[in-house]
Amino acid sequence: MSEFNIRSDSVDVEQIMEQIRSRIRDKRGVDYTEEQIRELAGVKLERFLDPKNVRSDLLQHYRQRGEHPVEGLTRREPPPVSESYAVDPESIYRSSRGAAGRILFAIRRLLNPLLKLFLNPTPILHALAVQKEQIDWMVDTHVELVERFERIAAKMTARAELDALTYEVLNNLVVEMTRLSIDVKNHKMRVESVAARLDFDERRARALEQVVQYRSTPRTNATARPDARGDEAVTDGGPDRKRRRRRRGRRRPAGNAATDTAAPATNEPQTVGESSPTDGGDGAPAADTTSDNPRPPTSGNPPDSPEQ
């Protein structure tokens, strides 16, 4: 387990912080702050919308669309429909002057045969009637078009708002993906570490099994003589004792590796060794190796081993 040392008589805060950062870097690869993750994610988003793959100014437009969704659109109302467009055969004789108008209308009707000597008003009336129908159709069409256009504009506005949200979601996704990729990297390192430990434990287990097999014959003899074990304990000599001592001598390094890491560190008066809460990666619980606050190792965080 890596340690950082603090001389209790001369503390340098910046040095301690550098050691802490160095430990985090060692355990977790690269340590990113929230800002760095966002910056990284921002860079990736720019790459996602790379000018080589898409329009060079797409990102800019993409961002600006939400700000000006229907820029430059102003509604033009259709012209008011006048009743005077309604034309019938007697329209050309009418007058709007009340009672005098009615007299005038009667006089014009009386003089109508005289008028027809000079011109034929029927085609004129027909043309006016046709124009009236066309104008009515155009007004209806215009109103319908305006309504359609308003619906499309509303859809475009909604789409622009959706685009802004999509952009935000996309940005968040990229941030999270960045964070996850860092986590995956950390977990990969941790898995490798656990695999190495597992490999070591398997090798040690095999070695121990061989030792058991090797000792099986004397144990059989001991079983035959119930007092033999006690005799071995008190007997100072014989080949069994020599073999056991040699085996212990061989096992010692592995045994130390397993036990030393779980034991509290020595609290020296000048130099204090500390374990790390983020050993094992990503803030995982660590074995408490402090002299000041002795606690059992937290589960799920195996202590560091010499093979790491």
């Binding site: 603090i6 209790s8 008589d9 503390v11 340098d12 805060v13 910046e14 301690i16 912080m17 802490i20 950062r21 430990r23 985090i24 977790r28 340590d31 990113y32 702050t33 929230e34 609290n267 008066p269 204090v272 500390e274 374990s275 790390s276 809460p277 983020t278 803030g283 995982a284 619980p285 660590a286 408490d288 402090t290 002299s291 000041d292 606050n293 606690r295 937290t298």
Partner: protein
């Protein structure tokens, strides 16, 4: 010597940072000079509503003269104007309208300074960003001393404050980082300035056993003192601490003191004691293992100084330049910028007694050297004496003329937020923090 202390609000029960700072300074200076406080009738810093009686009052032996606020703040209007001047190209006239919208708009106070300012030898203004300071400094340029209490917020980038920073006789800074910010934005290096801050008096009879008997908290705990507010970084602190409690430590608790602005997450190891007396606060500090200070924006953290006075190491938010700079200079705590650093640093402080004690001793030394009231008094009195010498030698302050009518309306001022973004970041490293390093000879 007759002094005036001008501050936006004043009262024994008003505990805002700058207001408390002003009261402490007024009460300390009253031991050496005739001090009068000039303030408004407002109690609420959101609305500036007139709630206290106009006229002369006395608080803790200091004469207080209150003036009416002519208009309450309209938060909607102020917010709109803030967005405009902080984020858009604008004019000086826009900034003046913003200042008027911010308040506390008290023309009576400014008129009083204009008419009677010469009755005082010096006028000490607190908080650069308010109406009373901007107009008061212009009314009394020969006598104005400024305690800016500035943070890295967009208001610092407004053009109207440059002449105020350059036009005062002296500036009493809270920290080296604040000085670097203000000098960066206004170029007022020629103005005499000194890093002072505010003194602190802690209880010598604080008793950890009394705290443990009262609360039943027997184990180790980190302490947070202050308003429990998301703007103070508390949400992040809760998140980090919960992860730390789940992954690293089985015993460490988090104890909170202060009023609630945001909900506290339900957690068996997070305890809220509410608003406590000073004695209870110091008892809690005596029992704590460390102080947590998660705020992003501080011009001076009085709680941090109190913690050092109580021999308590601190763990501060490293993204706050002032807290980080102070912690490095004091050598009395650790800082974090991510959860990993938070966990490592908190674990180091929790588990390593030698480290805790060394940091605590360094903190106490730093407090005794810079933040006892004797030191603060001496810095103020030295500065006042120096200004007096200059006055006797015939010094005449020259106020920068205000731009003309047309000039004030030209939209040539850059967005304040952009300007502040360009200011130097990080702790001020090249400055000694000792009283010997005062820039009194500038």
């Amino acid at each position: 010597m007759k002094l005036a202390v001008v501050v936006q609000r004043y009262g024994a029960d008003l505990n805002g940072g700058a207001e408390l700072h002003a009261r402490y300074i007024a009460e300390r200076l009253a031991r050496h000079a005739d001090v009068e406080v000039l303030t408004t009738c407002a109690r609420d810093y959101i609305t500036w509503r007139n709630e206290l009686p106009e006229g002369v009052d006395e608080i803790n032996g200091v004469r207080v003269r209150r003036f009416l606020v002519s208009r309450e703040r309209d938060p909607h209007d102020f917010g709109r104007r803030s967005e405009y001047v902080f984020g858009e190209r604008h004019s000086i006239a826009d900034e003046l309208k913003w200042l008027r919208a911010e308040g506390p708009t008290s023309p009576m106070l400014v008129n009083y300074l204009r008419g009677r300012g010469n009755d005082y030898d010096y006028v000490i203004f607190f908080s650069y960003r308010y109406y009373h300071t901007y107009h008061g400094v212009r009314a009394t340029p020969q006598r104005a001393i400024l305690v800016p209490t500035a943070e890295r917020d967009p208001a610092l980038g407004l053009a109207i404050f440059g002449p105020a920073f350059r036009g005062v006789r002296a500036v009493m800074y809270n920290s080296h980082e604040e000085r670097a910010l203000i000098q960066g934005v206004s170029g007022n290096r020629d103005v005499p300035g000194v890093v002072v801050g505010v003194g602190s008096e802690v209880s010598e009879t604080a008793d950890a056993a009394r705290f443990r008997a009262r609360t039943g908290i027997a184990g180790r705990f980190a302490l947070y003192v202050g308003r429990i507010d998301e703007n103070k970084g508390c949400a992040e602190m809760f998140d980090y601490f919960r992860r730390y409690a789940a992954q690293v430590s089985r015993t460490m608790e988090l104890v909170l003191i202060g009023s609630l602005v945001m909900p506290i997450p339900t957690h068996p190891r997070i305890r809220h004691l509410g608003f406590v007396t000073d004695e209870e606060k110091y008892d809690t500090m005596a029992a704590a293992d460390l102080l947590l200070m998660p705020s992003y924006f501080e011009s001076l953290s009085m709680v941090t100084i109190e913690a050092w006075a109580m021999r308590l190491p601190v763990l501060v938010n490293g993204r706050c330049d002032v807290l980080r700079g102070q912690t490095i200079r004091a050598n009395a705590g650790l800082y974090y910028e991510s959860y990993g650093e938070f966990a490592e640093a908190l674990y180091a402080l929790e588990s390593n007694r030698a480290l805790r004690h060394t940091l605590a001793n360094d903190g106490r030394t730093y407090y005794e050297r810079h933040y006892t009231w004797d030191v603060i008094d001496r810095k103020y009195l030295t500065m006042l004496e120096r200004l007096r010498h200059a006055d006797r030698a015939g010094y005449e302050a020259v106020a920068e003329p205000q731009p003309g009518w047309l000039e004030r309306r030209r939209r040539v001022q850059a967005a304040a937020r952009d300007l502040v973004e360009q200011l130097p970041r990080g702790p001020a490293r090249d400055q000694a923090d000792g009283p010997d390093s005062q820039d009194l000879d500038q």
